[in-house]
């Protein structure tokens, strides 16, 4: 029997089943809902069969791990060789406190660092700026100058860890500080490993922590990619992020499509700069969210790898297989954490982590159960890390690669993800690209609409959230939340002002003038920023120079 005949046979049998067996069961106990849908609104069938993957071609669509189109994973041994990096995003208070938290996490078995900066640092203000009032060290660690970064990495050898930095607008300055700390430790820049998020496009419609307008923002991103390609070869200069698109309200398809389309825009920007695709593309990395719908998420990650590989090969004619690799970091979705019955979040995080691991992530952050209430306590962050360790060592899921390949359901969902992503690509191409879409508020509107739809479903109890709109309880779960001491701000401001008095201000001014000049000339700013950082120029001072030249972004408000 040919494949086609087999499929026809199955189709006939399914029809028979639907007419004979099924009605009896439905007659006795009707299904829970008239229709079942996942988060990206795909209608989910009762059961999937070979009919739903009839066009699947194993070698074309899946292949083997470590080979094109990389659907099954970017490495040939995946988690059998090396487990994913367990990388917990952390930072609060002053640099001493965060340095202690880093050391604690490394002691507990974390394998990579990830810095959360406070809002002033992220937005390019020093700790003593009027805008910084009440925000210093609250949502992340306060870093204004190299002095702070030196304390942050005190006793942590940079040749032994890799560090991810969630930083976008001032990414060049923080990377420069990391390079400078490395030099002081005797670690040359070509030995440094880590990641700068440095994905400004999603800032304009998702994370919205923006300093400069789109064009100069994209210029700075490209500067960093260009500089790292030449001088910091083990660094991931960018982490093209869907996480924030999802958190802001997008669904899984929107997360996938918008993120990968941002990726296309960065590739185009580097090509315009005169770089060759196979020089820089191998270092592009990605960052996604993992939500609760297990199979939808697994399909999303698998589709992401396949779409990116095809895009790099077909759209940009990459030759090096590494240029086609989608290496990803995943974070469990903060949005899904509930303030009600917070311990339930441990279960949510486990499901989400499982999705990322089964789908072959390279790196993972698991959220702590108390994060809908405050920054995570030490106990909560340890449980989050232990969740990864239990999945890694006790569940057995990391023993084989891409275990859900061949599942009629998962393969069908993976195809559906790809199809809908390609439809968005077409729409965005027709619109004139990501920059135009940002200016028109296209992404913003799509995300806001979906966020509102989701909330309505929850409000009307069409979507069940355990402990929130169902299974609620009056009982309070008193958990001890972490509070940042308000004295941190005072101490940080005092330290910064001491630095301003004691450093060589003549040299700082000279560097800032050079930065101004280089920005006007549209040169790559990385070299001068590294020099300025070493002279202890602050993030705020450097950003002020650039604000004068580039201006500041004015938010396009889309409700």
């Amino acid at each position: 029997m040919s494949d086609k005949e087999k499929i026809n046979e199955i189709a006939k049998e399914r029809e028979r089943w639907e007419k004979t067996t099924l009605p009896k069961w439905i007659g006795q106990s009707p299904e829970r809902k008239s229709e079942f849908r996942n988060h990206s609104d795909t209608l989910i069938k009762r059961v999937y069969t070979p009919e739903d993957v009839k066009d699947l071609d194993y070698m074309r669509d899946l292949g083997f791990p470590g080979e094109y189109p990389f659907t099954r994973g970017v490495h040939a041994t995946m988690h059998r060789g090396r487990l994913w990096t367990m990388r917990q995003f952390s930072g609060y208070g002053n640099t001493e406190q965060t340095n202690q938290r880093f050391k604690y996490l490394l002691k507990e078995g974390e394998t990579g660092l990830s810095i959360a900066f406070d809002y002033p640092s992220i937005r390019g203000y020093d700790s003593d700026h009027p805008f910084s009032k009440g925000e210093v060290g609250i949502c992340g660690v306060a870093v204004s100058s190299l002095k702070d970064m030196e304390v942050l990495f005190n006793g942590i050898p940079l040749e032994k860890v890799t560090t991810s930095m969630t930083i976008n607008g001032p990414a060049a300055m923080l990377l420069a500080m990391y390079i400078a700390v490395g030099e002081k430790q005797g670690v040359p820049r070509d030995k440094l490993g880590g990641t700068t998020q440095n994905d400004v496009l999603k800032e304009f419609f998702a994370q919205k922590l923006i300093i400069f307008p789109p064009k100069p923002s994209l210029k700075l991103v490209t500067d960093i990619i260009e500089y790292c390609t030449k001088h910091v070869p083990r660094w991931n200069p960018i982490s093209i992020s869907g996480y924030h698109i999802r958190e802001a309200g997008g669904n899984a398809v929107q997360e996938l499509a918008f993120t990968l389309y941002d990726g296309i825009t960065y590739v185009e920007s580097c090509l315009e700069r005169g770089m060759k695709v196979d020089e820089f593309a191998p270092r592009l990395s990605f960052f996604f969210a993992a939500h609760n719908d297990l199979f939808e998420e697994i399909a999303k990650f698998r589709a992401a790898r396949r779409i990116w590989a095809k895009t790099m090969k077909e759209r940009f004619h990459a030759k090096n297989p590494r240029s086609m690799w989608m290496r990803m970091h995943v974070q469990t979705a903060g949005f899904t954490l509930t303030a009600q019955q917070p311990l339930n979040n441990i279960t949510r995080v486990t499901i989400q982590a499982l999705a990322a691991i089964v789908a072959g992530t390279q790196s993972l952050h698991t959220n702590s159960f108390d994060e809908a209430l405050a920054l995570p306590s030490e106990q909560a962050v340890r449980i989050a890390l232990r969740t990864q360790q239990i999945i890694a060592h006790e569940s057995g899921v990391a023993n084989t690669i891409d275990p859900l390949a061949g599942s009629y359901y998962v393969e069908n969902l993976t195809n559906e993800m790809e199809k809908r992503t390609m439809e968005y690509f077409q729409k965005l191409d027709d619109m004139g690209g990501a920059m135009t879409a940002i200016e028109k508020g296209f992404f913003q509107k799509e995300i806001a609409d979906n966020a509102y739809k989701y909330q309505k479903e929850v409000d009307e109890k069409r979507r069940i959230l355990v402990g929130v709109n169902y299974y609620t309880t009056e009982e309070k779960q008193p958990i001890k939340v972490l509070r940042v001491d308000p004295k941190v701000e005072e101490g940080q401001v005092a330290r910064l002002q001491k630095l301003r008095r004691e450093r060589d201000n003549r040299k700082v001014n000279e560097m800032l003038e050079k930065l101004h000049y280089a920005a006007e000339k549209d040169e790559n700013l990385m070299p001068i920023i590294i020099d300025a950082v070493k002279a202890y120029a602050t993030i705020g001072e450097m950003c002020d120079v650039l604000r004068k030249i580039y201006g500041e972004y004015k938010e396009l408000i889309v409700i």
Partner: protein, 135 residues
């Protein structure tokens, strides 16, 4: 002239945090309930928020903050409202505000704090029931 039958609401994001998912959803829900809603956008200083409230002649101010800076910023906003004579405006807040901070915030004059997981219709209802009567 404005139609005073419509309740005018300012949804404001003080401070540097950029989590606007909740603020935008509330803005839409209040609008769908027939109110006139002005949304400030992100990164608003207390001065900007109070100035907008004055200019727009609002009945209600909804402050949304998730950065933890509420203890610094809310008292400043309330003070400025008093200075400008906006004492009859209903002020509510939402976001991530630890339970132990809520009594202090209410003492300041913030009428209600809506935490994560609050249904939008509850907020709509609260506004209808507590908005100051105007002539």
């Amino acid at each position: 002239m404005q139609n005073r039958k419509k309740i005018r609401v300012l949804i404001a994001k003080p401070g540097l945090d950029s989590h606007d998912r909740g603020a935008k959803i509330i803005a839409r829900a209040l609008r769908d309930a027939g109110m006139e809603v002005i949304y400030t956008g992100l990164k608003q200083t207390p001065e900007q928020i109070v100035e907008t409230a004055l200019q727009e002649d609002v009945d209600v101010i909804g402050l949304s903050i998730l950065s933890g800076a509420h203890k610094t910023l809310f008292p400043i906003i309330i003070d400025l409202l008093k200075q400008k004579g906006l004492t009859d405006v209903l002020v509510v807040a939402g976001g991530i505000i630890p339970e132990e901070d809520i009594p202090g915030m209410k003492k300041l004059g913030i009428k209600e704090i809506f935490g994560p997981g609050t249904r939008t219709d509850k907020i709509v209802q609260f506004v209808f029931e507590n908005v100051p009567k105007r002539t």
